[in-house]
């Protein structure tokens, strides 16, 4: 068992290391750096500029910079942002919080919708209700999230039903606690809708397929014969049998918490990582971008690691395989 997890852990570490090297390699391909724009500014002299470049170490060879950066990361410091003149870690965290609020809500909702709907649909495989649901998910599937997000935005702006951007209303600081919660929730409706609509069809189809397959198993006929109620049968017996692919998907859902909403955030001007990283890219704020990439990779790797843990706990076949030498 320990070997199983150690191997997984080693794999995750390797991935993170590889991603950081890759990010640094790409950064050497880039012509120019953050300070190149300043050459055009007559108020900054050449001496000041070279002093700045020396201070931030942008002229050093790539290997040296990587070594220094990796050393800093191992101490929990993700580097320093040129544009904000502040450490990257706290900067990213304040933005990542908003992203997590959005994606966490959306992911919870998607799973709460997909599980019962998928079971319901698999139970009626091929009947009109199932076919209608399949068509509905197919329609959601062919509308890309950019189209959906912009379309909803146009609709909402013209009707004025919902706030169209940002996290809070003007005057948020003066609101009471309850009012604040309601205000943020109100602002989340639109982006969460888009996220749910884009993630739901794929997940729903997976749940439906997995449950439909599990429903074929002979042990269910036996359970039915014993007089176990339909509801208990579905949720107590079928769902665990269908869990294997769903757990892997759940890990993926967890892993993409930081990356699934970037585009929607930019479109809906949600103050999360999306617009933040976009600005960093446009400003060539190197360490901020690398930090963002690394953080999201960390999430993905952790997500799949947690899926492994869950699978180990839920699926005896994996336990048996892992304990074998």
């Amino acid at each position: 068992m320990t070997r199983f997890f150690l191997r997984r852990l080693a794999h995750a570490t390797f991935l993170l290391l590889g991603v950081s090297v890759l990010a640094f390699l790409f950064s050497t391909l880039a012509p120019g750096n953050y300070f190149d724009d300043m050459r055009l500014n007559p108020q900054i002299s050449a001496e000041q500029l070279s002093a700045l470049r020396a201070e931030y170490g942008v002229d050093q060879p790539i290997a040296l910079r990587y070594a220094r950066w990796a050393g800093a990361v191992s101490r929990g410091d993700l580097g320093f942002s040129f544009a904000y003149n502040a450490p990257v870690g706290p900067l990213l965290w304040t933005r990542a919080r908003n992203t997590l609020l959005l994606t966490g809500t959306a992911t919870t909702l998607v799973w709460m919708l997909a599980l019962p709907l998928g079971v319901w649909s698999a139970e009626r495989l091929g009947r009109p209700a199932d076919v209608a649901l399949s068509w509905a998910t197919a329609v959601l599937l062919i509308v890309p999230d950019l189209t959906l997000a912009l379309g909803l935005l146009v609709l909402v702006v013209r009707s004025g039903w919902l706030p169209t951007g940002g996290l809070v209303s003007v005057g948020f600081d003066g609101f009471s606690a309850l009012h604040r919660v309601r205000d943020v929730a109100w602002h989340m409706v639109l982006p969460v809708t888009v996220l749910v609509a884009s993630a739901l069809p794929v997940l729903l189809r997976h749940v439906r397929a997995a449950v439909a397959e599990a429903l074929q198993a002979p042990f269910l006929r036996a359970a039915e014969g014993l007089g176990i109620s339909r509801r208990r049968l579905l949720y107590r017996y079928v769902l665990p049998a269908a869990a294997h692919p769903l757990i892997a998907l759940f890990g993926f859902s967890l892993g993409t918490l930081l990356s699934s909403s970037l585009l929607v955030e930019v479109v809906m001007s949600w103050p999360g990582l999306g617009p933040f990283l976009l600005e960093a890219i446009l400003a060539r704020d190197l360490y901020l971008v690398i930090g963002g990439v690394l953080l999201s990779t960390l999430f993905l790797v952790t997500g799949s690691f947690m899926a492994d843990l869950l699978l180990y706990w839920a699926d005896p076949r994996i336990r048996a395989k892992a304990s074998r030498p």
């Binding site: 790409f26 880039a30 950019l146 935005l153 146009v154 397929a209 585009l263």
Partner: protein
């Protein structure tokens, strides 16, 4: 309908859609870059068949739009004069498929401008821009998918056929690319490449970035097939008869990968069109004045455009039929080859 005929219908529809975009110059009444500064944000014009006196016209006509007095973006139809829509008119010159110069357009407004889908902030005809922008976006998707599949095919074949440490190293690298969230990868690669470049170079850059991001998954699939094909009896027999590696690959192993490559193509093309749109929408892709579906949508980031000029949203709708076509194609291809179910294909997206 049987599966093969469904496949044919699907391919025919997709082909017609692509042909329409490829011959954009003919269907577009105006040059996509031609500006009409007197009519910014003109709303879509409606072709009429019944005039103000109640008379019925067999051919459609339209009313010229004129700015309402004291306004800069409110138009009203001039109902006094009915202007017939003319067909097969001579207008701005363009090149069919990039080579054949022509001046013939399917329709035009004659002396008054006819903007069927309205105009943008510079008074450029939106219909023409959507058609020509489709060329850019679809081409980026098609070339990107072609490049990705070539890279994936090469790496997958090398890894699967040679095996050993080469396989190990290549697959570890592929895992790296799979571990990164693709939108971050897209962002990061674009971040570390030049920002302001001429349109053609930007286009190539976007295509290369997209291709570099997506190769890992097809490579792994091709590798799995090559691995199993290498050990098939007829391949071993051919090897026993003294067939060279090149012959084995060409004659026996690569044909086995065709179904996976085709299915992957049908899945990747719409994904990559969307990737190009995303990059251009965010200002990291193809720049103005060259239209692409993505950079046309970028104007929606302005609040006033969002509020007042809903027709600027139309480029986002233009891609939906293509998406539908490719999705059906992918599921039919998979069903036809019996390799896996549609649900699995949808999981890949």
């Amino acid at each position: 309908m049987s599966a093969p005929s469904r496949l044919l219908v699907c391919i025919a529809v997709l082909g017609a859609l692509h042909l329409g975009v490829a011959c954009a110059g003919f269907f577009a009444p105006y040059d996509p870059a031609a500006q009409d500064r007197a009519r910014p944000y003109a709303p879509p014009m409606r072709p009429h068949f019944v005039d103000a006196q109640g008379g019925f016209h067999l051919l459609p006509f339209f009313y010229a739009q004129e700015l309402r007095a004291g306004s800069f973006d409110q138009y009203e139809e001039n109902r006094v004069r009915a202007i017939p829509v003319r067909f097969f008119v001579t207008g701005a010159s363009y090149h069919v498929l990039g080579v054949l110069p022509l001046r013939m357009h399917l329709f035009g407004g004659g002396d008054a401008p006819l903007y069927l889908l309205g105009s943008d902030g510079y008074g450029r005809d939106l219909l023409s821009r959507i058609l020509v922008g489709g060329q850019v976006s679809l081409l980026a998707g098609l070339i990107g998918a072609g490049l990705t599949l070539s890279i994936g095919l090469c790496i997958g074949t090398v890894a699967g056929f040679l095996g050993g440490w080469k396989d190990e190293v290549l697959m570890r690298i592929a895992e790296l690319f799979l571990a990164l969230p693709w939108i971050y990868l897209l962002f990061a690669m674009r971040a570390f490449l030049p920002l302001t470049v001429p349109p053609l170079k930007a286009f190539l850059l976007v295509v290369m970035v997209i291709a570099a991001v997506g190769w890992a998954r097809p490579a792994r699939m091709v590798r799995a097939i090559v691995l199993s094909a290498r050990e098939r009896d007829f391949v071993r027999a051919a090897r026993g008869f003294g067939a060279s590696d090149g012959y084995l690959l060409r004659r026996h192993i690569l044909p086995e990968t065709a179904s996976v490559v085709l299915t992957q193509a049908a899945i990747l093309v719409p994904q990559f069109v969307l990737a190009e749109m995303t990059l251009s929408f965010l200002g990291l892709g193809v720049p103005e004045p060259v239209p692409s579906w993505g950079n046309m949508l970028a104007s929606l980031q302005h609040y006033n455009v969002l509020v007042s000029y809903w027709w600027m949203y139309l480029p986002a709708v233009a891609m939906v039929p293509f998406f539908l076509g490719y999705l059906v194609l992918a599921s039919l291809l998979q069903g036809g080859y019996g390799t896996s179910k549609m649900d699995e294909a949808l999981g890949e997206i």
